[in-house]
């Protein structure tokens, strides 16, 4: 993944419609925004605020050749490999989550060379998005030097600081073609407010060429304006808004629902015991099978949803 030249970055932005206009569409329509071969940045971190509904839509739309990037990748990375939408994931850590052990799918695909897991340090991922958000081709940093990680990544350069003579590593900007970000609320224009943990989503949104927002709910522009210092993503960075309640299920959405742990345990069990075939059955049942997102949630189950919601809201109980 090479750095997008500045002329191309500017031209892409110039071609977009940045006017204040309504942009609410369906999950299916939003999937059309993503082209085969795109670099797609995934918001959230591990099992938190993962844009599962949009990934679900990309899998159903049978996208191909996507490069995915993310702060830390959980089992949506498994889904991406096994469904065939991606064979290249750039991230700092990749497995379902510490409590579930090493991802069997990540191992199965990367150890056989069927897919690539390009490993960067967590801060490097963050600074690459930040450089992209700032419109510069790199960020200087002081980690990753001396390790073996730097030898396996696509592109990073050491330099001597012209001010201090110190050694620095320059990590190249990431400007994803599309960013998928799930938020607690936004308006019909795409002004998004994110509660609690922000992860790398602000930088990802500003770095990307197009942002697809999924949101627990769409609120009025007046509500957004009552707390403008809580708005985290400006409308003009956003290409599409999709209302997708429980759009992170079975992952968590801060203050709204915690992870659906039984479902996550079930997935871990399937992938560990039945391997790739098990995950394909999981995809049939939960990704390809449901008529729509609501039916997906029905299959995940109301009891789990209520339980995750009770736990999720508890952060505001104190």
């Amino acid at each position: 993944m090479t750095v997008v030249p500045y002329a191309q970055l500017r031209e892409r932005t110039r071609q977009r419609d940045c006017s204040l206009h309504e942009k609410v569409i369906s999950l299916e329509e939003a999937a059309n925004i993503v082209n085969d071969g795109d670099h797609v940045a995934v918001g959230g971190c591990t099992v938190s605020r993962t844009p599962i509904a949009m990934i679900w839509a990309l899998v159903r739309a049978r996208k191909q050749g996507l490069t995915l990037s993310r702060s830390i990748t959980s089992n949506e990375g498994d889904i991406a490999y096994v469904s065939g939408i991606s064979d290249h994931i750039m991230t700092s850590w990749f497995s379902q989550g510490i409590v579930w052990g090493i991802s069997k799918m990540m191992r199965a695909y990367t150890e056989t060379g069927r897919a690539r897991f390009e490993e960067w340090s967590h801060m490097a991922m963050g600074l690459r998005y930040r450089a992209g958000a700032m419109g510069v081709p790199f960020m200087p940093m002081r980690a990753m030097m001396g390790s073996d990680i730097v030898g396996l990544v696509d592109n990073a350069q050491e330099m001597e600081c012209p001010f201090t003579g110190e050694r620095l590593l320059l990590v190249p900007a990431l400007n994803p073609d599309v960013a998928l970000i799930h938020v607690q609320r936004c308006d019909r224009y795409g002004n998004a407010q994110i509660d609690g943990l922000q992860f790398m989503d602000l930088d990802i949104a500003m770095a990307a060429n197009k942002v697809i927002l999924t949101t627990e709910r769409i609120v009025s522009n007046e509500q957004i304006r009552r707390a403008p210092d809580h708005t985290k993503i400006p409308f003009f960075a956003v290409e599409a808004v999709v209302e997708a309640p429980y759009g992170c299920a079975p992952h968590e959405c801060y203050g709204t629902y915690e992870p659906f742990f039984e479902h996550m345990d079930m997935y871990a069990q399937i992938s560990a015991t039945k391997g790739e075939e098990g995950v394909k059955e999981y995809l049939d049942e939960f990704y390809y099978g449901p008529k729509n997102w609501t039916e997906y949630l029905e299959r995940v189950g109301l009891q789990e949803m209520l339980d995750a919601t009770r736990r999720g809201r508890s952060v505001y109980d104190d």
Binding site: I72, I102, F117, H122, A124, A143, M144, G196
Partner: protein, 268 residues
């Protein structure tokens, strides 16, 4: 995500005392921490160690979580299962984007980072990426997360189970730099600060020789001999004459751990 998956010390202590190996690790790690420090904690044992230090000798110690949390406080019985879920924000002073909490390392605000790893070598280099040849690995591990950043920019305490297959002559892949090839090689590589302060295991507390940066036994865990430590290590350890035995966990320390983790999810 700095605690390695493979590093789940849930078996019993080899010394068969009134504490488990996990409790021993938590207590030993907590004792290395000092009042006023800012500490990057992982989940499980390392978080217990940091919280135990707060409740014993370091009430002004601050915990950071990689998910973007500054100064959370642990509610007994509610240890978070990862460092980037909402449970990590309980009673926190501040939430920040991930990149900014990691930049605290670079800015010099972090005194100690807790690390694990699948492998460690005589210079304290850690591997959490590949077992075998990285080009054709036997096992692809989950990777660095913030581990490389923490190990590059702050002093670290490594807490792991002491096994020969983990304490190797040379790690298959340097995910997180220790002292690299010893001597001044770490600073020469652009990493003038930090390094491995201590390696805490169920068999010993280990440090590094100030000159050569080779691993050295600083203290034996109670009931463990220097031979046992060497037998479980694939490289030659420096064992100073008359090496001491660390004091065993106190009743107070164990009581606090039981209070924090009453169901023994992390200290079984």
């Amino acid at each position: 995500m700095t605690t390695d998956l493979a590093n789940r010390s849930t078996d019993n202590s080899p010394t068969q005392r009134d504490y488990t190996a996990s409790q021993l690790l938590a207590v030993s790690a907590s004792r290395v921490l000092e009042e006023g420090q800012i500490v990057f904690a992982g989940i499980g044992i390392t978080l217990l160690a940091a919280t135990l230090a707060q409740r014993t000798h370091a009430p002004g110690l601050t915990i950071l979580f990689e998910g973007g949390v500054i100064g959370p406080f642990i509610v007994p019985g509610e240890l978070p299962p990862s460092t980037n879920e909402q449970r990590c924000t309980r009673r926190a002073n501040m939430l920040v984007p991930i990149t900014d909490v990691l930049l605290l390392l670079q800015r010099g605000y972090v005194d100690i980072g807790f690390m694990g790893g699948a492998q460690i070598d005589r210079y304290g280099n850690l591997n959490s990426s590949f077992i075998g040849d990285p080009e054709n690995p036997k096992t692809r591990l989950p990777g660095t997360g913030g581990g490389n950043d923490i190990a590059s920019l702050s002093e670290i305490i490594v807490a792991m189970k002491h096994q020969k297959r983990r304490f190797v002559e040379k790690v298959d892949f340097v995910t997180s730099p220790g002292f690299l090839s010893g001597g001044s090689s770490r600073a020469d590589s652009g990493l003038p600060f930090g390094g491995v302060k201590k390696v805490v295991t169920d068999l010993a507390i280990l440090g590094f020789d100030e000159k050569t940066r080779q691993m050295r036994v600083d203290a034996l865990q109670p009931g463990v001999t220097a031979e046992e430590v060497q037998d479980n290590t694939a490289f030659d350890l420096i064992v100073p004459e008359g090496v001491k035995v660390a004091p065993p966990p106190t009743e107070k320390e164990l009581a606090i751990l039981s209070d924090l983790d009453p169901e023994r999810l992390y200290t079984a």
